[in-house]
Amino acid sequence: MIKYEKFVLENGLRVIVHEDKSTPMAVLDVMYDVGARDEEPHRTGFAHLFEHLMFGGSINIESYDEPLQMAGGENNAYTTNDLTNYYLQIPAENIETGFWLESDRMLSLGFNENSLDVQRKVVIEEFKEHYINRPYGNVWHKLRELAYKEHPYKWMTIGKELSHVENAQLQDVKDFFFKHYTPCNAILVVAGNITVSQVKELAEKWFGDIPSGDKYVRNIPQEPVQKEPQFLEIEAEVPLDALYKCWHISTRLDKRYYVADMITEILGGGTSSRLFQSLVKEQQLFSSIQCSHLGSIDAGLLYIDGKLIKGISIEEGEKAISGELDKMKTEKISETELQKIKNKTESLLAFEDISLMNRANSLANYELLGDADLMNKELLLYHAVTADDILEECRRVFVDTNCSTLYYRSTTSMPDSE
């Protein structure tokens, strides 16, 4: 049970305080309700590029990092398809430095042409490092485009193509900032060795006078129900054939989300999972196999991906996966297996909560979803899932018309393997 208090400033900034007197540290987490899904199709990668620019100096403070480090703090940020999160950890005595820095960059950035020039280059190198200069690095670009035809989840947070990042202009940066980086589109979580009254005072002092801004009303196309199986085959100079399959699942706030999450655990969680046990160990068709889901707020994807053993065809591997999914659709899982998945979930949530940073981040996440209190209710939602729910969800999700399949064929043979 995570205890917290919540209040809202007049400008609409939601503030959550989680006291923990056992630590000498404090965490300050600012989450903005904007992600890659809010980008325009011809200007993708912008939310993430923007995250980089948030470190290029704000209206009154030339450098973000140095004053924070001078106060003994460290920080980072990430962008997803749904949201952008900035977080710092600092000795609790110096928490006001965090308020000062974060409030100034919420007030306004420095909008510095040089910073944009450099960060464009940095992000392009990041793009290359993770998605181009890497075997199988382009898979998720392809798979998202295959599975999503309308919804902006069809592109990655890094961007659809390098040119979108290369062409970003300072005016785009300004427009993006004033549209999304406002108190009414943000959540502030302060956690650690601080008090509620201290946070109230500091939040009022540093964030209170920032103009509220307009509430961004999200109006993005939702993905229509897929009517036909989608298929793509690509070839590349990789050593192994690989198979990727994904299926549309529910939105994050739907009860079905928890069922889908448990299904991925049954199929792909750990070495006692069904896919690993059957396809890697018993049948030895794959050298590795995973099952997971995107964890997105709008309707997400559940996916399976595996690398085939040399000599096994992708088609053979795919047939074996279908066999496992057929079992999921015809036989109810045993009470023992269900209990195992619930135990794993309980344990996972308990370990996540050890870290102060994780607790702060989770509170922000749940508040963004609609209610921080979900954090304390989630375990019950998992416990409520029955074997019948899982059977029903498998029958609903694992149908061909709901599926996208990508064959990733190797054009190189392993040295001396032929």
Binding site: S22, T23, P24, M25, I61, D65, E66, P67, Q69, M70, A71, G72, G73, E74, P91, E93, N94, T97, W100, S103, D104, L107, D117, V118, Q119, K121, V122, I124, E125, E126, K128, E129, N133, R134, P135, D209, E237, P239, G270, S272, Q277, K281, Q284, S287, S288, I309, K310, T336, Q339, K340, N343, K344, S347, A350, F351, D353, I354, S355, L356, M414
Partner: protein, 425 residues
């Protein structure tokens, strides 16, 4: 309205008195030392068994790592699935890792399940049989994984730079090839298991909410095992490569190069180590470091560049590493040399020095938060044959080191000719 131009007052982190909370120590009746911290807000626990069974002790490549990896893949009573299931049913995670000197077997679980899981760990470390078919699957999958990794410039660069720094025969420098993996057999593993696990040098670390009878439980399940064998200290001289500069073309279509610039460096017992840790942070160890400020934040050559002292118990190395655009790899190396020169020739100004000191102290404070962090720090000290004095001396070094000392160290160590230089595209 606050004046936003003026930073709020701070307490300089160098004024913090950071303490390393003690850990409880006791010995099993077989002499194996146990270090633990019974504390924490969540009902979770961690226990780690550290064996002196790392790859320094093998005489055939890959035997130590494979023995460690397959230790949960079969005993005379349980097959691999049953073993995994006995942990995963309780939502527990059993992980294992092989390092140069040590291997670890680590359990994370809800506190309430510790009692049921300790006997399973006993079974693994006393009765593993390394079934032939499990080894075959492991070999096949490892070879496939290796074939993918060998396409990655960073993976290839990390293997090569270690070979230059230590020599291809040295435990820190040797790598596993396809042929090495193919050559492994069951006898190798059972022999290694019997030599280094059944007659072991084992130390135990634990943290979290532990049961009241924790010590008795450990004694019950592990007190009778041969855990206190004296193994010969590992001695191997490093063999530095004679050639200093390397340019490797690993991928014709590569758009980035993995750059590694590295020099040998003594281990933690050398008087310069603690001081150079500060110099390293300033040079390439944090976001505002000289290397990041210049090569990422000014030039935009890379997504990230860093330097670090390798985490070895024996003699180690100081490494600068980055993945940079193919066309700017040479320019990146040139800038690294410029930054070395600046540190040799110009005194660090007071503000930057205070910045790096405060940052390091703050990070130290943050990384000692909670029992899991604290036991990890104790483990690091103990495995390196150090004690809390080293911890406090390190903090004191951060607080007191001067710009003059850092310049002197730069002149001693940041000499481009002493460094190996590698680009893998």
């Amino acid at each position: 309205m606050p004046d936003r131009k003026i930073a709020p007052p701070i307490k300089d982190a160098i004024e913090f008195n950071i303490a390393l909370n003690p850990c409880t120590r006791f010995s099993l009746s077989n002499g194996a030392p146990v270090y633990y911290i019974n504390d924490g807000a969540e009902e979770v626990a961690m226990i780690e068994f550290v064996f002196d069974a790392g790859n320094s002790y093998e005489n055939k490549n890959g035997v130590a790592a494979t023995t460690n990896y397959l230790i949960k893949n079969g005993t005379s009573k349980k097959n691999a699935f049953e073993i995994t299931e006995s942990f995963e049913y309780f939502g527990a995670y059993l992980s294992r890792a092989c390092h140069n000197e040590t291997t670890t077997i680590t359990l994370h679980c809800l506190s309430k399940h510790l009692k049921e899981l300790l006997p399973v760990i006993r079974e693994l470390i006393t009765d593993s049989i390394f079934p032939e078919d499990e080894l075959e699957i492991f070999q096949q999958n490892s070879i496939q994984r290796l074939s993918v990794n060998l396409l990655k410039c960073d993976f290839v660069a990390n293997r090569l730079i270690d070979q230059y720094l230590y020599g291809p025969q040295h435990p820190y420098g040797k790598v596993s090839t396809k042929e090495d993996i193919e050559a492994l057999n069951q006898e190798d593993l059972t022999a290694f298991f019997s030599q280094f696990y059944l007659n072991a040098k084992c130390r135990i670390f634990s943290a979290g909410k532990l049961p009241a009878d924790f010590e008795q439980l450990l004694e019950k399940y592990f007190g009778d095992l041969s855990f206190n064998k004296d193994l010969p200290a590992f001695m191997q001289n490093r063999e530095l490569a004679t050639q200093k500069k390397y340019r490797i073309n690993n991928d014709e279509n590569g758009v980035q190069g993995a750059v590694r610039i590295a020099r040998p460096f003594p281990n933690r017992h050398h008087p310069d180590f603690k001081k150079v840790s500060v110099l390293n942070t300033l040079f390439g160890g944090y976001f505002s470091s000289r290397l990041m400020s210049n090569i990422r934040e000014e030039k935009g050559y890379t997504y990230g560049i860093s330097s670090h002292l390798q985490n070895h118990i024996g003699d180690t190395a100081w490494i600068i590493s980055t993945e940079a655009g193919k066309d700017v790899c040479e320019a990146t190396i040139e800038e690294v040399h410029k930054e070395m020169k600046l540190l040799r020739e110009e005194l660090i100004d007071a503000e930057e020095l205070l910045l790096v000191k405060n940052y390091m102290m703050g990070v130290n404070l943050g990384h000692l938060d909670g029992p899991f962090h604290v036991i990890a720090r104790w483990k690091s000290l103990i495995l390196n044959n150090l004690d809390e004095h080293y911890f406090y001396e390190s903090l004191n070094t951060i607080k007191t080191i001067s710009a003059e000392e850092l310049q002197e160290l730069s002149n001693k160590y940041l000499i481009p000719e002493d460094f190996f230089e590698l680009v893998v595209i």
